[in-house]
Amino acid sequence: MFADQISVFLENKAGRLAEVTRTLAGASVNIRALSLADTSDFGILRLIVDDNEKAESALKEAAFTVRTTRVVAVEVSDKPGGLMSILEFLDSKQINVEYMYAFVRQRHDNAVMIFRFDNTDSAVEALTAEGFAVIKGDELYTM
């Protein structure tokens, strides 16, 4: 029930993000969702792509530092309070969210959120038990 996310280390300097997208385009990899965490010195680009292997090897070949991380994609009702309901549930179970970001596309009437938890297994277990729709990686990459 996990999805793989590719994280890339970026120095904060002109053109690095463009270089990542150029590398992925060159490898015919499609970016499905992304989030950029940045500090004054460096950034961490997090990507959901349609082909993890291709993306990872292309980025490594272009000398980027790359890491694959397990994240969890969850459908969230696309209406006021939709995200709140899931966060309140996680809070009640004392599940810590390291970071999260939204998937680009909507699915049916729902939005999709990508979560990174400090304890992925127990988070997935709790979410599915509660009836939240956790989306499998393979499905996510081609949505």
Binding site: Q5, S7, F9, L10, E11, R16, A37, T39, D41, F42, I44, R46, A63, F64, T65, V66, R67, T69, E98, Y99, R116
Partner: protein, 433 residues
């Protein structure tokens, strides 16, 4: 194994007797053949005849890099050009290059001292030496080359560059000794890894690394990545080239200075007075046998100390401590003396941090700031900002603890700090105008 058993194991009195005889001769030759020395000694009121015992060397004025520049290109040569068979020069990155010359006899002396060095570093005539020091005006490549041939070993004159090809040759030719700069050694290890090769599968036994200061921690790093026993070699073109001093495999504790050809001294760089044996200061060299380009009391700017205690290897020549920095490379950050090698050892102690780093000094207002750029490899990269920030904090904390100076740690992408094939550029000082 000792290359020249007779001379490398001379009792101290015998070494000193040879040194005094040769010192008198070189001062005489320099005074008579090099206008620079004659003028300088006349001004100081010194005559060659004033050198009666070894301590008298301290009466002689120093020779500096600036003196060599002022006499660019051939003004310091002590023989006519028709006796000069080889010319080398420094890179000139910090100003005008310094040019040095050799007679045929100088080349053969240099080859013997390099052969001694290679043997002390673990090489024998049965070895294949992969020589990745640059060939050309830089003394490293040809110095090691002639030394290897004098030793009777097989030398691969690969020079620097074409790193992937080097790795292929290491795999196929199975050399047993590696000679290059320590930073290039690590670069070769990276290149091997990128090509799916492992130094453990190569045939290296020993590596002889020099031309830039490196730390004990870097030795461990090189030894574990390259699967060989690493020793330090020292030299500089002004004095001869590589092979002025060499660490032995037996002790790995200081580099034997070939004292029958050079007199090393240590001075306090500020007072310019000689310090007691064992004390740290600036290394001074006098060449005793060089014909074309004798140097007398040359200020190297290298920081070291001398150890006259007996060595387990049996060689009697004094050992100089590994160069810990340079008097002119030393950074003074808010009143604190900082050597790049100190920062390096801190980084090496933090596991998985890449050994490639650079120090950038800036002045903000009246305040000096030191930024340590460290490459982020896969070993330390995390998708979480807080992990990377805590790594920055850990590095800064260790440096503060060791040196008492606050630094800013900047994480940079792999391979963004230039790997030089010669000397790595460890310090960028933006304070100079």
């Amino acid at each position: 194994m000792i290359f020249n058993m007779e001379f490398e194991t001379l009792p101290r009195e015998a070494i000193e007797a040879i040194q005094l005889r040769r010192l008198k001769a070189v001062v005489e030759r320099a005074y008579n053949n090099v206008p620079f020395y004659r003028k300088k000694y006349d001004e100081a009121g010194i005559k060659p005849a004033d050198i009666q015992k070894l301590e008298d060397i301290q009466k002689l004025p120093f020779t500096t890099k600036q003196d060599l520049r002022d006499n660019y290109p051939f003004g310091m040569f002590a023989v006519p050009m028709d006796n000069v068979v080889r010319i080398h020069a420094s890179s000139g990155t910090t100003g005008q290059p310094t040019v040095v010359g050799y007679t045929a006899r100088d080349i053969s002396t240099w080859a013997e001292l390099m052969a001694r060095s290679l043997q002390a570093g673990g090489a024998t005539r049965d070895d294949i030496i992969h020589n990745a020091y640059g060939y050309g005006l830089f003394t490293g490549g040809l110095g090691v080359h002639y030394g290897s041939e004098c030793l009777g070993a097989s030398v691969i004159p690969i020079s620097g560059g074409m790193t992937e090809r080097q790795v292929l040759i290491m795999k196929d030719f199975r050399p047993s000794i590696l000679t290059c700069t320590p930073s290039y050694a690590l670069h070769l290890a990276e290149a091997a890894e990128e090509n799916g090769l492992d130094f453990a599968d190569f045939n290296f036994r020993a590596g002889i690394f020099g031309a830039e200061p490196w730390s004990e921690a870097m030795r461990k790093e090189i030894e574990s990545k390259l699967h060989l026993s690493a020793v330090d070699i020292y030299g500089l073109s002004e004095v001869m080239g590589p092979g002025v001093a060499q660490e032995c495999q037996e002790a790995k504790a200081g580099l034997h200075v070939w004292e029958d050809h050079f007199i090393p001294e240590i001075i306090n760089p500020d007072t310019e007075k000689n310090v007691a044996a064992g004390e740290t200061g600036e290394l001074i060299f006098t060449s005793l046998t060089k014909e074309a380009f004798p140097v007398i009391r040359y200020r190297t700017r290298d920081i070291s100390s001398l150890n006259y205690s007996p060595c387990v290897c049996g060689r009697t020549h004094v050992r100089m401590h590994r160069v810990s920095g340079r008097t002119d490379d030393m950074l003074i950050i808010r009143g604190v003396n900082v050597f790049p090698s100190q920062i390096e050892s801190v980084l090496m102690e933090i596991s998985q941090v890449e050994p490639h780093y650079q120090l950038v000094v800036d002045r903000e207002g009246a305040m000096d700031t030191l930024t340590v750029k460290v490459e982020v490899g896969e070993g330390v990269f995390s998708d979480e900002v807080k992990q990377l920030q805590s790594l920055q904090g850990e590095i800064a904390g260790h440096i503060k603890e060791l040196l008492g100076v606050s630094v800013k740690v900047k994480l940079v992408e792999p391979k963004t700090i230039a790997r030089s094939q010669g000397k790595a550029v460890r310090v960028i000082d933006n304070r100079k105008i």
